[in-house]
């Protein structure tokens, strides 16, 4: 079997003596795989995601991303260049236009010439369906549009992996689909994705694997249809009964 692009082994993380965010998580993600992680709040799913690009430090364990172990400081930057991340709160840079949001890191991190960076940015805006908004500022966009810009911004770095941290949780209901459509298209292109989300519809349509986390541990993992239809663990059934009405 091919070496996994993300290899997570026995990760422990605690914020203080009492709160253990992660308690011995093991997870391998294959190249091109789409993994959806669900679970109640405080279950450690976002923390796990943030450990993959080391926005969160972990206390114990190993994470290897695309053959690079997350240990040395220079490795962290190397990994972050290969891993795109989309946040719940979009986190667009409010002082820059949409276009400059997508150009900035290309210029600063990848040292691309302005013209090339701008072409990439415009092509990506086209891809996420808001090319006409290139020159406006993030505050003038709807939540769904902002999130699509955030996805374009991450894609501009040509990441090998995309992490989504509850990308639709802060959106009005009617804007969720436009973001999910972009993510689904991305999945179809073969992007490796790890998605923390409660969008069961998306998980069924796009994911190869669904994972339920609780109490800092992986409770159950299976193909989405299996996990959502016939979960084996009691905890999974209980959680799904609350999520699926």
């Amino acid at each position: 079997m091919e070496q996994p692009i993300i290899h997570i082994e026995n990760i422990y993380k605690s914020f203080d003596e009492e709160t253990h965010a992660l308690r011995g998580v093991n997870l391998d993600v294959q190249r091109g795989e789409v993994v959806v992680i669900i679970g109640p709040s405080g279950s450690g799913k976002s923390t796990l995601l943030r450990c993959i690009n080391r926005l969160e430090k972990y206390d114990h364990g190993t994470i290897v991303v695309d053959g690079i172990p997350l240990t040395e400081a220079e490795n962290i930057h190397a990994v972050r260049r290969e891993v795109g991340m989309v946040f719940q709160q979009f986190n667009l840079f409010p002082h820059l236009s949409v276009l400059d949001n997508i150009i900035l890191a290309q210029r600063v991190v990848r040292h691309r010439p302005r013209k090339e960076a701008e072409e990439t940015a415009r092509a990506l805006l086209e891809k996420v369906g808001i090319s006409e908004k290139a020159d406006v500022f993030p505050i003038q966009l709807s939540g769904g549009q902002q999130q699509r810009v955030a996805i374009a911004r991450a894609l501009a770095m040509n990441p090998k992996i995309m992490l989504f941290d509850e990308p639709t949780s802060a959106l009005d209901p009617e804007m969720i689909q436009e973001v999910l459509d972009v993510m689904q298209a991305l999945a179809k292109e073969g992007m490796t994705m790890v998605v923390v989300s409660h969008e069961i519809g998306f998980a069924r349509a796009a994911a190869d694997r669904a994972i339920l986390m609780d109490g800092g541990q992986i409770i159950e993992e299976a193909a989405p249809d299996v996990l959502f239809e016939n979960p084996t663990e009691e905890r999974t059934k209980l959680f799904l009964s609350k999520v699926l009405h």
């Binding site: 690009n53 926005l55 946040f87 986190n91 667009l92 409010p94 236009s97 991450a154």
Partner: protein, 278 residues
């Protein structure tokens, strides 16, 4: 950076200005400019219609006005840089840098500005001379303080400590997600600061920085104690030769007031402009 929708109202504050917004005057001139205009008119009236003694006073202290402006502007620019360095030190991940920056601000903020100015002008050169004599370096041994240089140094050091706190508040006022987004794109902390955090923080701190400029302008009168011939010192010289304290200090007070009122209007204008841009 182009902003095609510049004239479109984007913030609540626009609604509090009932005048038409397509008029340059109504957008940039607020009613408090009237106070500045009144004080400036009063000064001009006094100088032209009561030249004895007011024109005499202004002519006598005119180089002092220049010195006050130079001291203020140079100290302001320098303290903006030094303050940023101290603020970055305080926010650094390195314990040593953080400790050094914290000790610096605590010490500087705990000593009156006047005492600091006197220290830099009278005590500091003495220390340099002593060290020069011990080490046998004649350049140090014969060191003489330049009054203006030492005054600007003293103002810069003192104000940079306060300024660093303003920077710190501004940087910490930017949501954590901004730094995380920048890091997740592969930027290092310096790049994230330079391109993402600071441009936003500077907009945020524009109003308090403007107020620092105004207090710096007023506090610059303290340098008159350490042999700098600023407006205040020239005023004392004029008073001691002409013995008309009321007229002298009325004129000097009005001149300071004209400068601070003008600066305050500029600050208010910048504040309004940056608010609209956010």
């Amino acid at each position: 950076m182009t902003r095609p929708n510049k004239n479109q109202p984007v913030s609540l504050s626009d609604h509090f200005y009932p005048l038409p917004t397509n008029n340059w005057m109504s957008k940039n001139i607020d009613p408090w400019w009237g106070l500045f205009a009144a004080v400036a008119a009063l000064v001009l009236f006094m100088v032209f219609f009561i030249p004895d003694p007011y024109a005499q006073i202004v002519i006598f202290i005119r180089d002092g006005i220049g010195t006050t402006v130079i001291t203020t502007v140079l100290s302001f620019i320098l303290m903006l840089f030094l303050g940023l360095i101290v603020a970055l030190g305080r926010l650094s991940h390195s314990t040593v840098l953080r400790l050094m920056a914290t000790i610096f601000t605590e010490i500087v903020r705990g000593i009156p500005l006047l005492v600091q100015l006197i220290f830099w002008y009278f005590a500091f050169p003495s220390i340099v001379q002593q060290i020069g004599i011990w080490l046998g370096i004649s350049a140090f041994g014969n060191y003489l303080a330049n009054p203006l240089g030492m005054a600007i140094l003293g103002m810069t050091v003192c104000y940079s400590a306060y300024m660093s706190e303003i920077y710190r508040a501004g940087i910490q006022g930017i949501p954590k997600g901004q730094m995380e987004a920048a890091l997740s794109l592969g930027m290092n902390r310096f790049q994230a600061m330079r391109y993402v955090i600071l441009p936003q923080a500077i907009r945020l701190i524009m109003p308090p920085v403007g107020n620092e400029f105004i207090s710096l302008l007023k506090d610059s009168s303290l340098v008159s104690v350490v042999a700098v011939t600023d407006m205040t010192r020239r005023g004392r010289e004029f008073m001691s030769t002409h013995f008309i304290p009321v007229q002298t200090w009325t004129m000097i007070a009005l001149l300071y007031l004209v400068m601070t009122l003008f600066a305050a209007r500029i600050v208010a204008y910048i504040e309004r402009k940056t608010q609209n841009e956010r």
